[in-house]
């Protein structure tokens, strides 16, 4: 069975990882004095990091063939195009 063929990641470690990142996020948002623009960048970076952890390990995309990953990747550029274009409206 393919999913057991790979070494199974330590799910508890990833859970810890996610937990710590969440704590860092909340702390950065409320306790730090980072300028707003930087803070936003940092928070988004952390969110994407967490989302990737979930997608790669919990949804085991890391261990799937590219054919399958592609399905999840296709909508992302479309979403970006929609949002970025429409925001340009304001400039």
């Amino acid at each position: 069975m393919a999913t057991t063929a790979h070494v199974r990641p330590n799910y508890i470690m990833i859970w810890l990882y996610l937990f710590v990142l969440t704590v860092v996020e909340v702390a950065a948002a409320f306790l730090s004095h980072i300028p707003k623009q930087w803070l936003i960048l940092i928070l988004i970076f952390l969110a994407v990091w967490k989302a990737l952890l979930v997608a790669l390990y919990f949804m085991h995309l890391k261990f799937e063939p590219w054919r399958l990953r592609l399905i999840f990747l296709v909508p992302l550029p479309l979403a970006t195009i929609l949002v970025v274009t429409t925001i340009m409206e304001n400039f």
């Binding site: 069975m1 393919a2 999913t3 057991t4 296709v74 909508p75 479309l78 195009i81 929609l82 274009t85 429409t86 340009m88 409206e89 400039f91």
Partner: protein, 592 residues
Amino acid sequence: MTSVAHARPQAHDGAHHAPMSFWQKYIFSTDHKIIGIQFLFVSLFFLLVGGLLAIQIRWQVGFPGTPMPLAGLLPESMAVGGVILPEYYIQLVTMHGTFMVFFAIMPLLVGVYANFLIPLKLGTHDMAFPRINMWSFWLALLAGMIMLAGFFVPDGAARAGWTMYAPLSARPDLSGATLAQQLWCVSIVVLGLSSVMGSLNYITTVINHRAPGMTWFRMPLSVWALFITAILGVLALPVLQGAAIMLLFDQTIGTHFFDPVAGGQALLWQHLFWFFGHPEVYILILPAMGMVSDIVANGSRKPIFGYHSMVFAIIGIAFLGWIVWGHHMFMSGMNPTLGSTFMVSTLLIAVPSAIKVFNWMGTMWRGNLRFHVPMLNAIGFVSMFTIGGLSGIFMAATPVDIPIHDTYFIVAHIHYVLFGGSLFALFAAIPYWYPKMFGRLMSEPLGKIHFWLTFITYNLVFFPMHVIGMGGQMRRLYDPTIYDFLKPQQPLNEFISIAAFALFAVQFLFAFNFIWSLWKGKKAPQNPWEDNGLEWTLSNPAPHGNWEKVPNVYRGPYEFSSPESPNSDFLPQHVKLPTDRDPVPAPPPAGH
């Protein structure tokens, strides 16, 4: 989710089943063919509804202020003394566009033919998820009923155009309709759900359930087109759903997404709608193109010209379709720089479209053309779609779009691509696969008369609309004679209307042919069109479960007049020549 998750595996193959009651077999059926046929009847009904609305539109535009025959049947809120009221007119236009696009053409192409053809042409027993498929049909029907209900609620049907531009659509005090506007949104959300369920089924089936030897590049172009269409559907409809939900919330629970007074953006609706809307118009044309490709190759008795580039053209059109939506918004106050980029991407769509048109011609070139009814309508498609596509170039060039945007020029474009394109393709596809559905052939002579009369009246209706539009006549205009500069055109409007009534009447030839042939049509031989597709290896109508054992596939679907088959001018996909080797069975998917 549950239905995905809980189907139980059983390691067996082939078609076997206990006898089923009428209800199981024809109503709550999970058989892809029955579902396709259900879609066929329902969407033909909605086509009729759309047509009935269209002739009322034409009556009003051609003869404003004149009492309409039979208008006495309408309540006072729609027509007084037989004269259509302005508020009813905009309901007519809105619901005509909505029904035609969402409940007639889209289900006819996708609901009917993706369901019916994909498993038959790929060689599998059914869709990947038959029960989800059944739900897809019932939700579509429900959505249609909700939409239709709009006409029967006290303040009348939705009335902001099929594009539902906010804030008009969001504010009952400005549009004059409360419940119907909400019904429109609810209906679209349900329809979106149905469409997503259908599409994910088609995608999974195409990827995972092909017959042995049916490689990607041996798939018929119809299946390719339906596959790419399903991808568009799965990605585009949720955006519309999201937008419709926001609109619904604006109408009901007091949110302000599209209300500029509270910080919302009116253009946001347009961006979301057209981000869905343009892929949607390709949902309405790609399956038509695919089926026409099959029929043109068959009618020409020649392999399709440039199969691979035809595939890549489908993919190219679908891809470009995502980055052109702004061409509907050139005059909307959108940032003009965006207008420039959207113009260029829009113009580029002419390139893959050119490949398609010229390759169809290349297919006919030096062929041995058989003019059966499907072929005639397919040729009608090629010539009429070209006109519609070329008028798109005028609108894509932004400066030229200034005078013609939101005029009848656009209306002409719409109908050339949607009627001349999609509907002609359906007039080709319906008789072509009719035997596979019902075991009988539709009448050829009647079909030919219908084709010619439609072809002529159709052009008489819609070609002059270009002229009317150049003259400046706006769309969705209750009474053009209000404007001095439009008055001189009124005779032409009358002419269009009369032609439209004729066009409408002619469609009853088709309806008659369709219904009459159900019982009285000639019994179809097994392969009436001498085609290569796997579906013709089955009896007519195709049996439940399709094949006892799925045939192996040895070649592409367009091997007509091949030197390898000297005795006939076609060579079906499943026929094994001495030189052919059997496909190697691959291991089943990992883990199961």
